[in-house]
């Protein structure tokens, strides 16, 4: 890319790498998320494939220097496909002792360790619980390639003649680090310069300061003797197209906007603030031009209530929440099941139970999504596999909801929500049709007559003359929709509601099998573990093992060909970030002896641990 060239070509030797994993770690106030995001943009410009993992504390302003106040941003980038943010680090930037302490164990032996020496003072060492200064520890230098850089001082020096206060100058140090790491990995810094200009447009002094800090870091790498070489990573061979970087949060929001535009329906988005779902509300609230009406409700219950009201009125009703909020929405979703109204609920899963670890990821709401409502209340459940996939899944959720007149639940997670990936921008025209036919015909109208193919009941907009009718949470008589307590009618309606959800199976495309169509092991995944599973399975395949994987996006109903596929392999392994939920469903549904690989640490699964599980299960077979 022409505009992707660095400010000046590095003069030191450049070594080519296939891939690299870099983590910026520092205090919550050190701007590590911005640093990581900018490094990501630079890397996207450089044409590499990439995957990111932001990791930050739930506390808004955690006390400076503490272990629990550490915030980090990890990225893996490479010249081939990159499936995950990476397991082990090639480079760790630790802005203070706490960041070193909490992150060092992930650094590979021989990895690059960049320390901001100015922050290793007694106060910070105490806060991090270091008895002696780890920088003086010779073992550290023996195990890693340690670069002690006076990041704070060098930043301040570069900004010396600016009139900013010392604190403000100090705050620019993250851009120094970014500049330095950008030089180390030969990233173009232009996109960051552009970003700084835009971000601080109202404060030209800050523009100047941050750009100077960035360039100072870059040139420090170039000139300081401690850095003997830099690294290049050739652009990846990605499918051609126009790309952007997208997070799962933004993709969900934009998928909704695409669905609203395509269907011509108006949209009401009701939400109560909850981490990490709130960002969808923030995103949508900006887009008034798309005629999406966002409503910050008084609680989770009101949020789902408002979207049920909107759906009753003939609009797309969407709400989003996270684990504990989903529990509060159970009652409302039950009403939507009974009233057969099309609503969409996003659950951005987080580590629980209860408040748990709000900013950490998990996949433990699957069974809640399946069964967490009173009585028999089936809903359609979808799960996006990557940040970019969130766009298509949000769109599909709306399409299915209005086609089948059924609530659709989307299970995303904290990792997908905050993670970003390079994304081929789709043409909205190429998305499937969302056809909505509001009933206006009086002849033969009853609120619960059903479409033969989908079993959907008619959607009637209030305001349609002659179709006035009353519905509600009481059991409905088949066809007429009158209140009915008749035993046989209830059984029929329970079955019809279940059958309607089952019929969504006719919408599910054939399952893609990654690997041989029969063999020793099938790895079955869902949600944000796609990258880690694919990486591990491909490694096993390269070792000549008869291993394949499938990734499920339609959780309920499950893909109609899944049972058949499962039987083609001797063993089935199901990695999940929970204690074994999909594996239970598969065992119950298909009577296969699937086994789980389960970690619940609030972190994404690592490729290496899945690979070990694969090796283990293959060994058992012998």
């Amino acid at each position: 890319m022409s505009d992707g060239t660095p400010v000046s070509a590095p003069k030191k030797p450049r070594r080519e790498l296939d891939r690299a994993v870099v983590r910026f770690a520092g205090d919550s106030g050190d701007g590590m998320q911005v640093t990581g995001e900018q490094f990501t943009t630079e890397t996207a410009w450089a044409g590499n494939d990439l995957s990111t993992l932001p990791n930050f504390p739930a506390e808004i302003r955690a006390p400076a220097g503490t272990l629990f106040g550490v915030s980090s941003f990890q990225i893996q980038f490479g010249r081939h496909r990159v499936y995950t943010p990476g397991d082990r680090l090639d480079c760790l930037v630790a802005m203070n002792p706490a960041a070193l302490k909490t992150n060092l164990s992930d650094l590979k032996d021989g990895g690059l360790l960049i320390l901001n020496t100015n922050s290793f003072d007694q106060k910070n060492l105490d806060r991090a619980g270091y008895k002696t200064n780890p920088m003086d520890d010779s073992a550290l230098a023996g195990r890693y390639r340690v670069h002690k850089v006076e990041i704070s001082r060098l930043t301040k020096e570069a900004l010396e003649d600016l009139s900013l206060g010392t604190k403000e100058k100090e705050r620019c140090k993250n851009f120094f680090s970014l500049g330095l790491v950008s030089w180390i990995y030969t990233r173009p810094i232009e996109p960051t310069v552009t970003w700084i200009k835009k971000r601080f447009a109202k404060n030209l002094e800050m523009v100047e300061a941050n750009i100077r800090a960035l360039k100072a870091g870059y040139h420090f790498g170039e000139t300081a003797e401690i850095f003997g070489e830099c690294y290049g990573i050739e652009p990846a061979e990605l499918p051609s197209g126009l790309y952007r970087s997208i997070t799962g949060t933004r993709a969900l929001a934009w998928g909704l906007l695409a669905a609203a535009q395509r269907s011509g329906l108006s949209m009401v988005y009701g939400a109560y603030p909850i981490t990490p779902a709130s960002d969808i509300l923030h995103e949508l609230a900006q887009h008034k031009r798309f005629r999406v009406r966002t409503f910050q409700a008084e609680d989770e219950i009101a949020a789902v209530g408002s979207v049920i009201g909107a759906a009753f009125g003939g609009a797309i009703g969407v709400c989003a929440t996270s684990g504990p909020g989903l529990a509060l929405k159970a009652e409302g979703m039950g009403l939507a099941v009974m009233a057969e109204l099309p609503i969409v609920v996003f659950d951005i899963q987080r580590a629980g139970p209860s408040t748990g670890m709000p900013t950490k990821t998990e996949q433990a709401d699957l069974l809640q999504a399946m069964y967490g409502r009173s009585s028999e209340a089936p809903v359609v459940i979808l799960a996006p596999a990557t940040p970019g996939d969130c766009f298509f899944v949000a769109y599909e959720a709306v399409r299915l909801a209005v086609k089948y007149m059924v609530p659709v639940l989307v299970l995303s997670d904290g990792y997908l929500a905050n993670g970003a990936e390079p994304w081929v921008i789709p043409n909205p025209e190429s998305l499937p049709e969302i056809s909505v036919g509001f009933r206006t015909e009086k002849e033969g109208f009853f609120p619960y007559v059903r479409d033969e193919a989908t079993l959907a009941r008619p959607w009637v907009r209030p305001g349609t003359p002659g179709l006035e009718h009353q519905i509600g949470g009481l059991e409905k008589e088949h066809i007429t929709g009158h209140v009915s307590y008749a035993p046989d009618n209830h059984e029929l309606m329970v079955k019809l509601r279940a059958e309607k959800v089952r019929r969504v199976a006719q919408e599910i495309p054939a399952t893609t099998i990654n690997g041989p169509s029969a063999g020793d092991l099938l790895v079955v995944g869902w949600g944000g573990t796609l990258g880690a599973i694919t990486g591990a399975v491909e490694e096993a395949q390269m070792e000549g093992k008869a291993v394949a994987s499938v990734h499920i996006r339609h959780m309920n109903p499950l893909p109609p060909d899944l049972g058949q596929i499962l039987r083609q392999y001797r063993r089935v392994l199901v990695p999940e970030i929970n204690s074994g939920q999909l594996v239970r469903l598969l065992r119950a549904e298909y009577l296969v002896d699937a086994v789980g690989f389960n970690r619940v640490r609030g972190l994404p699964l690592a490729t290496s641990e899945i690979k070990e599980a694969i090796d283990q299960i293959l060994k058992e077979k012998e």
Binding site: Y243, A302, S306, G309, Q470, H482, V483
Partner: protein
């Protein structure tokens, strides 16, 4: 968007047009029958096409109401009707939305939603039937039941202090607050119509008799004789008067506190002339309900204007569209940093 494009000429309706074909299932003698009849009777005068009217309710005896109205209706979840109505108004500001609730539905399980629909001033007409008891669940005390009352769930007398629905509504910033009585069909009709025409959230408490679990709880305003001294008709611009014709009583304000006087004892002009646009007056008057020394006020206590929630949102939307045009997803997707891979 769904806003009606032209003004529809509503047909000439009669009460019958608003009666649904469903069997009414309240206990014989229940006050809800009179309320239903009064509301059906007031509908033709609203001048709104029947298909543009929606009744939304929660759970409880009162909440069966939508089934009996030949309009669009939605019987939802316990306490949640205000939230559902808010979503409906956001999607469809062209519709006339009523919420029917009760003292348990609206003030206990749904208290939170009632607070917020009123404070946001969403354009809905809320009718709260207050019978001071849980009827559908067979006779437990409710949040409006008087202190010390013996019910199924309080065999030794209730220990809860009751909430006064009017001070509640005023306290959370409702813009229209009124009270009427199920035994007075003409008054109910008048109040329901005024409430329905209010721009914003209108709150009407309807004193209702549950003849099965709390018979004659409102006898003070039912009984011909008691009523004379216990019902205070509130009328805008008029002095607050009650009592026998030959010995009228009135209210005067002593500082901020109302006081009952014999009309003949006070000078002309000393009586409290009620101003329904005065929120201070409304608070003072609403408080009387909890005080046995005073009559029970009935009528419109407050009627003021304030921005309507959904109208503000829609204005923001219109402005955004006027400034930068209707959003286009293809444009959005390619906005910001993009790069091409050949």
């Amino acid at each position: 968007m769904s806003e009606a494009t032209g003004v529809k000429e509503p047909p000439r309706y009669t009460k019958k047009d608003f009666e649904s074909d469903q069997d009414v299932r309240w206990c014989p003698g229940c006050g809800d029958y009179a309320i239903l009849s009064a509301i059906q009777k007031s509908m033709p005068d609203l001048g709104i096409p029947r298909e543009d009217i929606v009744f939304i309710s929660g759970i409880g005896c009162s909440s069966r109401f939508p089934y009996y109205m030949n309009t669009y209706g939605f019987h939802t979840i316990h306490g949640r009707a205000p939230a559902i109505a808010t979503g409906l108004r956001l999607a469809r500001p062209d519709l006339k939305v009523f919420v029917v609730t009760g003292d348990g539905d609206g003030l206990s399980i749904g208290g939170n939603h009632l607070i917020h629909v009123l404070r946001r001033n969403v354009n809905v007409t809320i009718l709260l039937f207050n019978n001071k008891v849980y009827g559908l669940t067979k006779g437990q005390y409710s949040p409006t039941t008087e202190f010390g009352k013996m019910t199924k769930s309080t065999p030794f007398g209730s220990a809860d202090r009751p909430v006064n629905p009017l001070t509640f509504a005023l306290g959370v910033g409702a813009t229209f607050v009124a009270r009427t009585v199920d035994r007075n069909v003409a008054h109910m009709e008048e109040i329901v119509k005024r409430a329905a025409h209010h721009k914003g959230a209108a709150f009407v408490e309807i004193l209702q008799n549950c003849n099965v679990y709390n018979d004659l709880a409102w006898n003070a305003v039912y009984d011909r004789e008691l009523k004379v001294m216990h019902e205070l008709r509130v009328q805008h611009g008029k002095p607050l008067l009650f009592g026998p014709i030959d010995d009228r009583r009135g209210l005067v304000l002593e500082g901020s506190k109302p006081k009952v006087v014999r009309v003949k004892d006070v000078a002309e002009g000393a009586l409290w002339v009620y101003d329904e646009t005065d929120p201070w007056a409304a608070q003072a008057l609403a408080l009387l309900t909890s005080d046995p020394e005073f009559p029970i006020p009935v009528g419109v206590l407050l009627n003021v204007e304030a921005p309507v929630y959904e109208e503000v949102l829609i204005d923001q939307e219109k402005k955004a569209v006027a400034d930068r045009g209707v959003g286009d997803v293809a444009e959005l997707l390619t906005s910001g940093d993009t790069w091409r891979i050949p």
